[in-house]
């Protein structure tokens, strides 16, 4: 396994740099056990980019009274995003770190014209097929039926509009499938809402129906109206520019035959 970038800083503090959806991040922490677990978990997403966003774990050095641009608490772990620093506190294990990273990214992606979606993504002929749906809809099934190495994620997909083209990125946030993650991306062929059925069939959706499909499956945690307006603007554009479908499918590989090329 490729070792993450890790250097000592200010005594026992360690850090490594990674990139998720082309968003460069630098995690700093002094807990050696957490560092080991996290750097192994995100090894496939290691990346040394310029000007990463620094996230200080369990640092507790936030200026008192400073107002965070975004804050969230999840099972005792607290995320606070200030203009000049990002703080994750009360992070006791890699799972808490993973949760805060998802929450942080869901907010940060607003500035990158992107969003996180409960969806499995599979690369086929150089294009990303994004399969969305609630738990039990069949995301993991689709991923398990895909050829080895073609699954970007079986749980949480990251979609971003780069230079006018929507691309799907793999994320380290995996579900049941848990194959080795790959930090790659591909242009989106379509978003497919999974409906398990006796036969394989696709039905093209109008933008409104695509938005209706996407919205309940988007990961977003900010209660702020302005952030939600920005999110809706991004999702609206995605629904207009990405082909959306209902995919009725049986649990076998034959469903690929009805998908648009």
């Amino acid at each position: 396994m490729k070792a993450p970038v890790a250097t000592s800083r200010r005594g026992s503090r360690q850090q490594f740099e990674l990139s998720i959806g082309s968003v460069p991040l630098r995690l700093q922490m002094s807990d050696a056990r957490l560092f080991g677990a996290a750097s192994a978990r995100y090894a496939a997403f290691t990346d040394a980019a310029e000007q990463p966003i620094t996230i200080a774990l369990n640092d507790g050095a936030t200026a008192e009274g400073a107002l965070a641009d975004f804050g969230y608490e999840f099972e005792g772990a607290v995320l606070r995003a200030f203009s000049n620093q990002i703080c994750f506190d009360g992070v006791r294990n890699q799972y808490a770190l993973d949760s805060l990273l998802r929450i942080f990214l869901s907010w940060k992606l607003l500035g990158h014209y992107g969003f996180l979606l409960h969806a499995a993504t599979v690369i086929r002929n150089g294009k990303a097929y994004v399969f969305t749906g609630r738990s039990g809809a069949g995301k993991s099934t689709v991923a398990s039926l895909a050829p080895e190495g073609s699954v970007l994620t079986d749980e949480i997909s990251l979609l971003r509009r780069d230079d006018g083209i929507w691309r799907a990125y793999g994320t380290p946030f995996w579900g049941e499938f848990r194959a080795a993650g790959s930090n790659t991306s591909a242009p989106v062929a379509g978003i497919f809402r999974l409906l398990q059925a006796a036969e394989n069939r696709v039905e093209a959706l109008r933008p409104m129906a695509t938005l209706r499909t996407i919205l309940p499956n988007v990961l977003f945690f900010s209660p702020e109206a302005e952030a939600n307006r920005r999110l809706l603007e991004i999702l609206n554009q995605a629904a207009r520019e990405i082909a959306g479908y209902h995919l009725s499918f049986r649990k076998d590989r034959a469903f690929w035959e009805v998908l648009p090329a």
């Binding site: 933008p207 409104m208 209706r212 309940p216 900010s222 209660p223 999110l231 809706l232 603007e233 609206n236």
Partner: protein, 100 residues
């Protein structure tokens, strides 16, 4: 001493919304609930600006959809009641309410 002042309606400022294909999607961030308005509801939504009463909104609806004033008023009141119950729209405080 006061006579009944007209009630003006405004959109709940805490919401996010978007019109698509003559329909409207509204997100309520506080409870993560999504609401949808059909064509008629979207027309009313666009015209709810804090300066119009139900009667004025009904006049616009009647003119735009070529329905009788009675039906337009009844539909408008029903839609406003529904939107109000979902906290999508709220009353604009009247001058009397503000100045005590």
């Amino acid at each position: 001493m006061s006579t009944a002042a007209p009630v003006f309606w405004q959109k709940n400022p805490a919401l996010a919304w978007r019109e698509i294909d003559d329909e409207t999607v509204i997100i309520s961030p506080q409870d993560s609930v999504m609401h949808e308005l059909n064509n008629t509801g979207s027309f009313l939504w666009k015209n709810i600006d804090g300066k119009k009463s139900a009667a004025e909104l009904a006049e616009l609806l009647a003119a735009n959809y070529e329905i009788t004033p009675d039906i337009a008023l009844s539909d408008t009141q029903a839609l406003l009641a529904e939107m109000s119950s979902r906290k999508l729209v709220v009353h604009v405080p009247t001058t009397g309410e503000v100045a005590t």
